[in-house]
Amino acid sequence: MLSLESITNSIHAWLNNTFNPTLALLLEFVIVGTCAIGLFTVLGLVLVLMERKVSAYMQIRLGPNRVGYGGSMQTLADTLKLAVKEGLTPDGADKFLFNLAPFIVIIISMLILAPIPFAKGFQIWDMNIGVLYVSAVSSVSVIGILMAGWASNNKYSLLGAMRSGAQIVSYELSAGLSILSIIVLTGSLKISDIIASQENGWWIFKGHIPAVIAFVIFIIAVTAETNRAPFDLAEAESELTAGFHTEYSGMKFALFFLAEYVNIFIACSLGAILFLGGWMPLHIGNWSGFNHIMDFIPSSIWFISKVFFLIFVIMWFRWTFPRLRVDQLLNLEWKYLLPISMFNLLLMTLVAIMGWHF
């Protein structure tokens, strides 16, 4: 893969030279928007295929293997099928909210794509409150889920949505606290600053045990926040058939589905940025020879491989563990994750003040 930062810079320079600044900015908007939507679909397709393959191998199956080479076109075919399916709206549903809900969910997950750096300098918007922005906007998606659950006029959907509400709101806490413990070290919410601070080593290595604990808690919390098994109580197919999206069909269902996978991608990329150095290559202290070799691998590959590793871990969870019950889910958050992450934040602050980190 080419190094992406030079491409963006050259496009920017070319646009500014050819058109007047307003038009150039407008064109950049269009290009970025198209790229974001394109990325969105590609991500959805790739991740669904990955999930199906990972689950298949864990379940001693082959998984999709008929459409395309090794089943690579299977998800494309499925999307086509979903696109031509009839999108039913139940009779008793609140039609406006029912049709709005999937778009809210998907718009929110698209919004969070903005501050994610896919490579060195390849970022839509490097805002100064990047991490805060991601965690703030991602918590809005619960509104879409609640809306879908209520508007469906279905008891299963309602139960699923209410569960999801309780779940996302509470797991937001420990996710936020574990993000904070890294912010304590970096002293900045800006994503480019966070990545730059990891040039001589990733925070998961530099931050001693508190960073590892924060990482584990973060992974658990985002698994819960994205409604993934073992925390998939909002959809819990053996209890609530399909939870909040029971009544959705066709493309509206596909939007929920897509949003789920993009949310996983974003959550994992946040994890990669905070703990695994984002696009930063693996650098170990002052081994200049080793560091130099690592620099040869393009930054985009570093980023994508880290993110996909984390996604794999989350998928690994899903295909191994049973689902928690709703009260156990909240117990886990309030009795275990929250106290531990608070204590951990305290410890991390101590580490930061005393300068014990590398």
Partner: protein, 156 residues
């Protein structure tokens, strides 16, 4: 004491979860364990006792062993088999009972093997065919004796 219990609880819980992940991780990396059969491409050879459908055995001279005794028809719990008999005129002028048509309703058959057990001359047997789907239900009603076939010599 509370704190040590709390920590050991978390430790044991994590350990049990990691155990499970090791198991799925093992299968994720060991692709030789995969048991999927690519069905229409690779067909499994079914054992000779597999009960797929009732067929009547005919030899190369187009002769079968069915005397038309209707033992199978009586043994069948669902009325799957219907035998229509006729009377052949033998060369010496005597009449002999023989089958005209052996009708077999595959759509009613439960493959219970009772007709095969009942048959005194082993005229019918179970075939290993299991792909029975057709577009029209009437195709499932089969005539088992081939056209022009007749009973073997020496079977009463």
């Amino acid at each position: 004491m509370f704190l040590s219990d709390y920590i050991s609880e978390i430790f044991n819980a994590t350990k049990s979860l990691l155990k499970g992940m090791r198991r799925t991780g093992y299968y994720f990396t060991h692709h030789k364990q995969i048991i999927t059969q690519q069905y229409p491409d690779v067909k499994q050879i079914l054992p000779e006792r597999f009960r797929g459908e009732v067929v009547m055995t005919h030899d190369e001279k187009n002769e079968h062993a069915c005397t038309g005794c209707t033992a199978c028809e009586l043994a069948c719990p669902n009325g799957t088999i219907k035998i229509i008999t006729k009377f052949d005129i033998l060369p010496d002028g005597k009449k002999k009972k023989a089958i005209d048509t052996f009708i077999y309703h595959l759509e009613l058959c439960t493959m219970c093997n009772l007709c095969i057990e009942a048959c005194p001359t082993d005229a019918i047997k179970m075939a290993q065919n299991f792909e029975h789907s057709v577009y029209d239900r009437s195709q499932l009603t089969k005539t088992l004796n081939k056209p022009g076939s007749k009973i073997k010599e020496g079977i009463e």
